[in-house]
Symmetry: C2
Subunit: 225 residues, 2 copies
């Protein structure tokens, strides 16, 4: 019989494989928006099936592991964290697909419509996603806390983008549709940041048994916009 420790290692590797695909997808989706390049959007759609199939594979591995072994304490917390991170990563894959669709509706739109702070927000969100998974791999509590601390910056950048885009819309009705697409991009980016925050919370729970969800000051997943 395969040892518990080997099964846990295999599970971790699968989750890392999935997160690499998700990160690649996010990068392509942002390039699709900024460069108005539908080829980059296509790259995102190509990855979707693989991400979905790893999600199912990981859930299957978890159930097998729980049925065959009796993991306790930190191992059990690790497994629960994997299950939750798995769901988050799959949703993040969906969000990069949403961004790629938003990008497609911007292709061919006159360059007069600026992409405002989208690259800035995307850079911050990309770094949160990377750090949250690095924190998981290294079981690094400090890095997980860094991710939680970044969430408010994303929210505030998105709010300023929102007001800027609304004022474009009010000035020129031709800009309403492209501005709506860019609003959707910033919203999807904010949701990506929320998922990175969820992953960081799962890492803290797994590493220390600390549950920081719903503690004030660790970011909020509700938004007014």
């Amino acid at each position: 019989m395969i040892k518990l420790v080997e099964r846990l290692e295999h599970l971790k590797n699968k989750l890392v494989e999935m997160s690499s695909l998700v990160e690649v997808g996010i990068r392509h989706s942002i390039r699709a928006v900024v460069q108005k390049d539908s080829g980059e959007a296509e790259e995102v759609f190509k990855n979707e099936d693989r991400i979905n199939s790893i999600e199912l594979e990981i859930d299957g591995l978890v159930i097998e592991l729980l049925a065959l072994h009796q993991p306790m304490a930190i191992d059990l917390r690790f497994i629960i964290a994997v299950l939750k991170i798995n769901t988050n990563l799959e949703r993040m894959g969906d969000l990069s697909v949403n961004i790629a669709h938003n990008a497609e509706s911007l292709v061919g739109v006159p360059t007069g419509t600026p992409v405002v702070d989208v690259p800035l927000i995307a850079g911050l969100v990309g770094s949160m996603v990377r750090k949250s998974m690095d924190a998981f791999v290294a079981c690094d509590v400090d890095l997980a806390r860094e991710v939680l601390a970044s969430d408010d910056a994303v929210d505030s950048l998105r709010t300023s983008c929102y007001h800027e885009l609304v004022s474009f819309m009010e000035k020129d009705r031709e800009r309403i549709k492209p501005a709506l697409s860019l609003l959707a991009v910033t919203r999807n980016l904010e949701r990506l940041a929320d998922h990175a925050t969820n992953i960081a919370e799962d890492v803290l729970f797994y590493a220390k048994g600390i549950d920081v969800r719903h503690v004030s000051g660790t970011g909020s997943r509700t938004g007014k916009l």
Copy 2:
């Protein structure tokens, strides 16, 4: 020691308690939008802490149960389903809070801005949420499949609302902000429907060991708008 069967029953009751609070929150949030009533929005905010604390309680019960018992087959699938449904319900609570915030930004706006098909979409989504939890309680596969079948109707209603609201925005710049709030409401409603779909998928997995995620024709969680 408390028996496994009693622990499972307790877990189910907790989840049902949580879903009742979430359903009440959704109803208040929709009334807040349709009646432009900030008192109804307040009712939603009141519930939030209780929902969050039940989420933590349920995760704790699941971990205790996995550590103390060795659930197998359908019991193990039930527990995994509870863990996933728990996450979905908490997010649904967040979405009703989002809708209540959207409603607040509509209070005092001239009644010339119609709420389009929001009540219709809300009725459909409310029914999906109720059916998904009824399917869970009764372990009813047919009812779960009904929920999956409704998701496309919500997506298509939302798409037609989107086009209607964009045309309001293009006609009158004074309508841009309220139309953006209503667009946000329909988007949050669609996400509620997605979560009800997730719950129905979890019920199918628990009841039959069938995994219908990522099978075409069972609804999609990615959206172009």
